[in-house]
C-alpha cells in the first residue's frame, strides 16, 4: 500500500481578486521506503506540497490519503494526531526550543502522543547517539553548531517513529560539508526503511535521493535521478 496518495490535489490562495495556484491538480504517490527529492524554483509550490503531505495544511480540492487514511476531511485535532503519529518534520531553520536542552527537544513529540510510551528518555538518548550527539544531550541549542542543531531536529523528527520524514531545505542554512553530513544521515535512515521527502535547491543534495520531483507553477514532473532505484526490500524499521 502506498504511504501517500494525492489525487488531483490543488491548493489555492486568494488575495483580493487574485487567485494563486500553489498546487495544480497534483497526482502523486509515495511508497514506503522511498527517498524523494523535491526541486524547483522559488514559489513553485514545494513547501505547499510538503505542508499538505505533512498534514499541516489541507488541499483546497482533491484528495489526500496518508497511511490509508483520508486526511482531506479531518478537523484540526485529527490532523494534529496524524502529525503526531505519522510525520517527522525537519526545517531549514531547525526550530528547536531555545530554552530546552537537546534531550528535551528530542522528547517534545512524546508530550502530545495520544497514548503514553514508556522509556521515552532512553529512546531519545539512543536517537541522540544515532545522530552522533550522545555527549551533547544536556546542551542548549545556542551551545550547539548549526549542523548539530539540525541533528537534534532529526532525532526529534524520529522520536515518535513516524513512517514519513519531511525535510524542507534541511541543509539550506548549512555549509557544504555539514550539509553532506546531514544528507548522509538521512540516507542511512532511508536505508533502514524510513520514507523521506526532501525539498532542496541543491542538485548535490538531490543526488542523495532515488527519485526527484521537479515542481513548476504548482505542477510536479518526475525526473529520473542519477542513482538507480534500490529495490524495495523489507528493511527493519528504524530502531531505536
Amino acid at each position: 500500500m502506498s504511504l501517500c496518495v494525492l489525487e488531483k490535489v490543488s491548493k489555492t490562495y486568494t488575495t483580493g481578486d487574485l487567485v494563486v495556484y500553489a498546487l495544480r491538480q497534483v497526482d502523486l504517490t509515495i511508497d514506503p521506503g522511498e527517498f524523494v527529492a523535491v526541486m524547483g524554483p522559488s514559489g513553485s509550490g514545494k513547501t505547499t506540497l510538503m505542508n499538505i503531505l505533512g498534514c499541516l495544511d489541507v488541499p483546497s480540492s482533491g484528495r489526500y490519503a496518508l497511511a490509508g487514511k483520508d486526511v482531506t476531511a479531518m478537523d484540526d485535532d485529527e490532523l494534529s494526531r496524524m502529525r503526531s503519529e505519522h510525520i517527522g518534520f525537519i526545517f531549514q531553520s531547525f526550530h528547536l526550543l531555545p530554552y530546552a536542552t537537546a534531550l528535551e527537544n528530542v522528547l517534545l513529540p512524546t508530550l502530545y502522543l495520544e497514548r503514553p510510551v514508556d522509556g521515552g528518555k532512553s529512546r531519545a538518548l539512543e536517537l541522540l547517539s544515532l545522530v552522533g550527539l550522545e555527549d551533547r544531550a544536556h546542551f542548549r541549542p545556542n551551545q550547539l553548531s548549526g549542523g548539530q542543531q539540525q541533528r537534534v531536529a532529526i532525532a526529534r523528527a524520529l522520536m515518535n517513529d513516524p513512517e514519513l520524514v519531511l525535510a524542507d531545505e534541511p541543509t539550506g542554512a548549512l555549509d557544504t560539508t555539514t550539509a553532506a553530513g546531514i544528507m548522509r544521515l538521512l540516507s542511512s535512515l532511508n536505508e533502514r526503511g524510513k520514507t523521506i521527502v526532501v525539498v532542496t535547491h541543491d542538485p548535490e543534495v538531490a543526488a542523495y535521493a532515488r527519485r526527484v520531483i521537479r515542481m513548476r507553477d504548482g505542477v510536479p514532473t518526475e525526473q529520473p535521478s542519477g542513482r538507480t532505484p534500490r529495490p524495495l526490500t523489507a528493511h527493519p524499521p528504524v530502531t531505536p
Binding site: T47, L97, P98, N160
Partner: protein, 405 residues
C-alpha cells in the same frame, strides 16, 4: 491527566526561561495580592475584635444609657434613668438575672500616703463584677451589705493597685477618694486596654450608694444600667420590651425620641464593622486596582510573548500539539506566574500587616482565609488575563509560524 502534567511541566519550564516576563508579572500580582491579603486579615481582625468585645460585653447583656442619642452626640450626658427606674425594671423583667446600676465620675483624685493618682470611680452594686464577667482576683467582691450600708469600701483595678500600693498588698488598706477614706476590699483582674485606648484597669469600683451620696451629691439619677438576660437568643425581643417599658415610665409620646439609649452586642458589632469598613474599602480599591493593573501587565507581556514564541508554537503544533494543548500551556504559564505572585504577595502582606497595626492600631489577623483569598484571586487574575493571550497562542497557524521562524 498525563497531558495535563506534561503541559504543566512545559509551562513551568517556559516560566523559568522567560525571566523578565516572570519578574514583571510576579511583582505586579504580588502588590495587588499583598493589599488583598491585608484587607482580608484586617476584616478578620476586626471581626475577631468585635466578637472579643461582644464576648466581654456579653452576648446576653444590654446597657441602658441615660440621655438621648442626640444629647450624647453633642457631648451632653443628660441624666434620665432614675433609681426608681432600676427597681421597676427589676420587677418587670424576671428574666433579667443581673441588673446593675452604674454611675461614674472621671478624674477623681485618690491618694495613699504620699502617692497620688487620678482615676475613674464607678458606683455600682454587688452584681458588678459578675455582670461584666470580671473576677475579683484578690480579696472579696462587693456585697449587698456594702451597698445597703453605704460602706466606704472599694474594689480597685490592677492599674490603681500599682499606682497607689506598688508592690504591697492593698487588701484592707485605707486610701482617700477625694477626702473620703475608703478601704480596699478586693482587686479586679487585669483587663488591659480597649481598642479605643481606655485603660480598663485604671478605675475603682464602690457601692453606688456611697458614690452617689459622698462623691456625686446625687439622689435620683444613675448613668446607666447593665442588664443580663437568661436567654441570649431573645435579645431582640427584650430590647423592644425594655424600650417600650422605659418610654412608658418616662411618659414619652409616640414620635418623641427616646431619652435613653440601649446598647447590645449587635450595636457593638455594627459599630466596629463600620469602623473597619472605611479602611477595608480604601485598601480594597487599591488592591483591586493593583490586581487589574497586574492583569493588564500580564496580558500584554503574554501577548508579546506569544508573537515572540510563534516559532515555538509552530513546532509544537507540527509535532502533534492540538490547539487546546497550546492554550493550556499558556494558561498554565500565566497561572503559575500569578500563583507565585500571590504567594509573594501574601508574604508581603504578612510583613506589612504589623506596620499597619503600628500606624493605625488596626486589628489584623492572618489566617488561612487571607492565604486562600490571595491564592484564589491570583489564580483568577492568571486565568482571566491569561485567557486572551493563550487563545491567541492557540490560534497561531503552524505554517505561518514555521515560515516566519
Amino acid at each position: 491527566m498525563r497531558r495535563f502534567i506534561s503541559s504543566l511541566h512545559q509551562a513551568l519550564k517556559a516560566v523559568r526561561a522567560f525571566k523578565l516576563r516572570a519578574v514583571f508579572c510576579i511583582a505586579s500580582v504580588a502588590l495587588g495580592i499583598s493589599a488583598i491579603t491585608v484587607i482580608v486579615a484586617a476584616t478578620e481582625g476586626a471581626y475577631r475584635r468585635a466578637y472579643e468585645m461582644v464576648d466581654r460585653f456579653g452576648p446576653d447583656a444590654m446597657l441602658v444609657l441615660g440621655g438621648s442619642a442626640e444629647a450624647r452626640a453633642i457631648g451632653r450626658r443628660d441624666k434620665t434613668i432614675t433609681v426608681q427606674d432600676v427597681e421597676a425594671l427589676r420587677q418587670a423583667f424576671p428574666t433579667a438575672y443581673l441588673l446593675v446600676p452604674m454611675s461614674s465620675v472621671r478624674e477623681v483624685n485618690i491618694s495613699y500616703g504620699n502617692r497620688r493618682h487620678q482615676t475613674r470611680v464607678t458606683g455600682t452594686t454587688e452584681g458588678y463584677s459578675r455582670s461584666w464577667s470580671w473576677p475579683v482576683v484578690d480579696g472579696r467582691d462587693l456585697s449587698e451589705a456594702d451597698v445597703k450600708g453605704m460602706r466606704n469600701v472599694a474594689l480597685i483595678g490592677a492599674q490603681v493597685a500599682r499606682e497607689l500600693f506598688a508592690n504591697t498588698d492593698p487588701i484592707g488598706k485605707f486610701f482617700f477618694v477625694r477626702n473620703v477614706a475608703v478601704r480596699v476590699v478586693g482587686v479586679l483582674e487585669e483587663r488591659g486596654t480597649t481598642g479605643a485606648g481606655h485603660n480598663l484597669d485604671d478605675r475603682i469600683v464602690m457601692p453606688i450608694t456611697t458614690a452617689m451620696k459622698k462623691l456625686m451629691n446625687e439622689k435620683t439619677y444613675v448613668n446607666a444600667v447593665r442588664i443580663r438576660f437568661l436567654d441570649a437568643r431573645n435579645m431582640g425581643r427584650y430590647r423592644q420590651e425594655v424600650r417600650a417599658f422605659l418610654r412608658q415610665r418616662h411618659g414619652l409620646k409616640p414620635g418623641q425620641p427616646d431619652d435613653f439609649r440601649l446598647l447590645s452586642s449587635e450595636e457593638i458589632i455594627r459599630f466596629l464593622v463600620a469602623l473597619t469598613g472605611s479602611l477595608v474599602i480604601f485598601i480594597g480599591i487599591t488592591g483591586v486596582m493593583a490586581l487589574v493593573v497586574a492583569g493588564f501587565v500580564l496580558a500584554n507581556l503574554f501577548l508579546l510573548s506569544v508573537s515572540e514564541r510563534s516559532g515555538e508554537i509552530g513546532i509544537r503544533r507540527a509535532v502533534g500539539a492540538r490547539r487546546r494543548d497550546i492554550l493550556f500551556q499558556f494558561l498554565l504559564e500565566a497561572i503559575a506566574l500569578t500563583l507565585v505572585g500571590g504567594l509573594l504577595g501574601f508574604v508581603l502582606g504578612v510583613a506589612a500587616g504589623p506596620l499597619l497595626k503600628l500606624a493605625a492600631d488596626f486589628p489584623i489577623y492572618f489566617s488561612w482565609k487571607a492565604f486562600a483569598a490571595g491564592l484564589i484571586l491570583s489564580m483568577l487574575v492568571g486565568l482571566i488575563f491569561g485567557l486572551q493571550p493563550a487563545r491567541r497562542a492557540a490560534a497561531v497557524h503552524p505554517i505561518q509560524a514555521i515560515r516566519s521562524g
